[in-house]
Symmetry: C2
Subunit: 106 residues, 2 copies
């Protein structure tokens, strides 16, 4: 993963609304959630939500799938894992990190 890509994903998640949004999608699991339902949960205007959602989709952290008129959104786990992997690598590159969470990848 390139630094530029990692930075844009981090930036995408580095906004409270978007992080909350991402969280909601993660908790929604494989079923995902239509945009409308997310909007109810977050209680923000649809146009605002649409922008945030676009950001997450553009950086590969969220995937969308049309189902008739509604758009189902799902957290894209591989995208997140890539990012976590990058951070862990950067963090543990030369140094020894206290393995709090990142202990895998033998």
């Amino acid at each position: 993963m390139k630094l530029e890509k990692a930075a844009s994903q981090l930036e995408a998640l580095g906004n409270p609304t978007r992080l909350q949004l991402y969280r909601i999608l993660v908790r929604a699991g494989d079923d995902g959630l239509p945009v409308g339902s997310i909007q109810e949960k977050l209680d923000i205007p649809s146009s605002t939500l649409s922008h945030h959602l676009k950001r997450l989709v553009d950086t590969g952290l969220v995937k969308q799938e049309r189902q008739a008129t509604t758009l189902i959104c799902r957290a894209n786990y591989p995208g997140m894992n890539e990012l976590i992997g990058y951070l862990a690598d950067e963090c543990c590159a030369d140094a020894k990190c206290a393995p709090a969470t990142s202990k895998a990848m033998a």
Copy 2:
């Protein structure tokens, strides 16, 4: 870890210059690096660097220690581990992630 804090750390890392800066500090290991040396590596004005550095320090991702006139900077691994832990938790909350990096914390 609160969502707000995670978001601010993510935002801090979500800038190419700052991510690069953090990377440099990680690779510098326990010895850390004086601000001046970082500046040479990044080749940016000192005032700009100082702003970015402050951001990382404020969010707990970097620690600084005075040594006479120079300021030694070090990556704060516990801070990063907390963040990675938060992301892993969010990511794996209900869903099953392919355990790419986050397999610990039995």
